[in-house]
Amino acid sequence: MNQLDERERHGADCLSDLLLDRWRLMQLDDSGKRERVRAHLDECERCRLRLAGIEAVVAPPFDFGVGQASAASSRPLSRWRARWLAPVFLFAGAAALVLLVPWKKDGQRSKGGGWQLGLVAQYPNGRVEPVFQGQALAPGDRLRFEVSAPTNGFVSVISLDAKGAVTPFVPVTGETAAVHPGKRTLLDGAIRLDDAIGPERLMLVACPRPMAVTEVVAAGRMALGQAQGRLDKLDKLALPCAQTSFWIRKEARP
């Protein structure tokens, strides 16, 4: 039994992983229990080290494609993923670079005034998947954008990157694109990520009336300048429009 029993080796008083998780996630509602955990951690070096170990664990990127090529096809994961992305893959097969079917469930959508921005990536191997906030993508990956709109509006998606570049993604030129109320409206056009590595902030600007894309880009440059090039310090563009951001990281693909 000793070979399996943590409590026989280390004592029944030590804190369980569940309790340590509740402690660090601040989910212990009982103040008495919080105090007991704190007191135990003060006294027990082993549990302090375990807590440090727990806190050091970093979850893998929320990229549903990581390692999936080698996953057993019989696994529930693969079956469910296939169902989940079936409409996407179906169309991707017909139109290699362009995806017109939104994902059924959830990439991530940033929100601003009821407006939401979502991304779909197509990787060089043809795989098509939703993108999550903060997800790592690589130069060469293609992106399409979808918008959930609470009202009629005119939208533009621009990119602000770590090198200070402000680039119109959709539309690339002309005026902001008309969007009608609805969920997950896929915008026309796809972009291919360039070679600039680092964090990138994509901003959806949704205005009540049409606006030149150059005007949106100029507002982006001005805001980035005011934030001294710090993407995270940039607040809003000086435009009378709803705005929301979506962050990605561009990393070289190994």
Binding site: L4, D17, L18, P76
Partner: protein, 159 residues
């Protein structure tokens, strides 16, 4: 969906919990990543029905079940054992979790992992599994009795 319960928020908050747990039970980095993804897919699918302030205990339970199912799978078990035989990664050369739990009823395996591996209290196990503390206690006792018999036989056979 309210702020803080979006898939992204949930993953940022609980992703490391699930990944850590899967890695511990499976002893395999890639399998743990796959398990982590699968568990979160299930979580996202279950969000409308989940009526909880925190999904932590739900994630513990689903991750444990998912990993034990993997371990119980014959092919997976064979791969694990082969890999461990090749790399001798078991602590102090001891048997793997799969080896230790082999042959035990599923409900006892589950409780044994929470009690002996995680060091959870019986109250905590009862909360995670949604069963009474008495049932947990009975299962721990049953596991102890079976383990004592099974492992002492193994020891005799090994000598």
């Amino acid at each position: 969906m309210s702020p803080g319960t979006s898939p992204n928020d949930l993953y940022l908050r609980y992703g490391s919990v699930v990944y850590r747990r899967a890695r511990r039970l499976l002893g395999d980095e890639q399998a743990a990543k796959d398990a982590c993804h699968e568990v979160f897919l299930r979580l996202f699918r279950s969000l409308p029905e989940l009526d909880r302030a925190s999904p932590l205990t739900w994630l513990y339970k689903v991750t444990t079940n998912f990993c034990l199912n993997l371990i119980r799978d014959e092919e997976r078990r064979r791969k694990l054992l082969a890999a461990q035989a090749a790399t001798s990664t078991s602590p102090a050369g001891g048997p793997s979790l799969a080896e230790l739990l082999r042959g035990f009823p599923e409900e006892l395996q589950e409780v044994a992992v929470y009690y002996f591996v995680d060091g959870m209290s019986q109250d905590e196990i009862a909360e995670v599994l949604g069963i009474s503390q008495r049932t947990v206690s009975n299962r721990v006792s049953a596991f102890r009795a079976m383990a004592k018999a099974a492992w002492s036989v193994d020891a005799v056979e090994a000598t």
